[in-house]
Subunit: 155 residues, 3 copies
């Protein structure tokens, strides 16, 4: 297996993209030119979304695990829209919104779990600009959402 | 009237774009290449902004109505900047920030009201990626804001 | 000194770009085509980040000052990635997330402090679309974050 491909790196980590269902009147991704704009991805663990508020009933470790799951959801969208992760030229931006208590301050540690996974999978092409914020509520009490803008190569 | 144009579909729904004033040191939209980046649009009902917190004094139905009004505000910006809604090639992304209580969970139902309107008006070109989140406060106590990135055709 | 360059205008205001360190697994900016996508910039005053909640222990004036500092952080990123601010063709969008109490309503006044600085420095090219929202928490208790999409010219 070619260890230089994102798929190979993902397999070496024993991880798989997660194909998220879309609940709502939108689509998972839209491409304009060489930019792919994505929806907010959420953490699906088995057959259940990960819910709750970080700083309250959700621990930092669980939040980091949720961030990794959301990043795998992004990979699922990329596979579905691009056919291959090798068509990712650059992860341009990632925005992570964390359902958190007002006194929570460790958003960076949460979002880093997603960012580190993207760098592990894409190498240099995975280095992105990022915004991480805490929000007071999310759809269906999701613990976090992750959206991205991705530069892609032609098919 | 050509029912295949966005303007015709909007008229058939007995709806009109809303031209929002800009309060602050910014502009309603900026075009770079074929992408139009817009401000956060807010719901103007008659001559008053729709304000309040969803889950508290604002009901789900009122929030959905506000989301439709904000989408009409986006249409007003598109008309002002493009001349015609027919220059919309694709609504790429929509972000909806809902002023909501921490226990509110129905952001998807709120944002769908805006998204459905966009699909009603633009058809396939209206299908967009979306992020919907709850926030703890908004300017002037607005109930929600809606921003978009829109792919446009040349004049 | 040529008063028509952004650098000259900045010097006339006795201001300097601020080079922010990056804490986390991301980079300050990524360019795709002629768009530069940036991280969330935060206010660094001297050697300390500006922290706290607006509407509680942070006053409107202090929040506006923090917004100006975050805008100077954006300028620092632009200088680092472009070499010269004169390569800014257009500030396309700015998003300001304010760590605020649920009853805070003056986000526009806060964000305007950043927007006005950008227009002072870049003139017409500084006019941007904007989204300003209140959030319930930010990394390290930062008082606000400012991210931008900037259209740039070739080197």
């Amino acid at each position: 297996m070619d260890s230089t491909t994102p798929e190979a790196r993902l397999a070496a980590l024993a991880l798989e993209p997660i194909a998220l269902p879309v609940f709502g009147s939108f689509v998972a991704a839209v491409r304009t030119g060489d930019l792919l704009h994505t929806m907010g991805h959420w953490p699906l663990r088995g057959d259940r979304p990960v819910t709750g508020t970080v700083g309250a009933e959700v621990s930092l470790d669980d939040a980091r695990d949720a961030a990794r799951l959301a990043a795998l959801g992004l990979l699922g969208t990329l596979v579905a829209h691009l056919g291959s992760l090798d068509r990712v030229r650059r992860i341009a931006t990632v925005t992570v919104t964390v359902n958190a208590t007002p006194d929570f301050t460790q958003h960076t540690a949460v979002a880093d779990a997603a960012s580190d996974l993207l760098v592990d999978v894409f190498g240099e092409r995975g280095h992105h600009a990022r915004l991480a914020v805490g929000v007071s509520s999310l759809p269906a009490d999701l613990v976090l959402e992750l959206t991205a803008v991705v530069q892609v190569t032609e098919a």
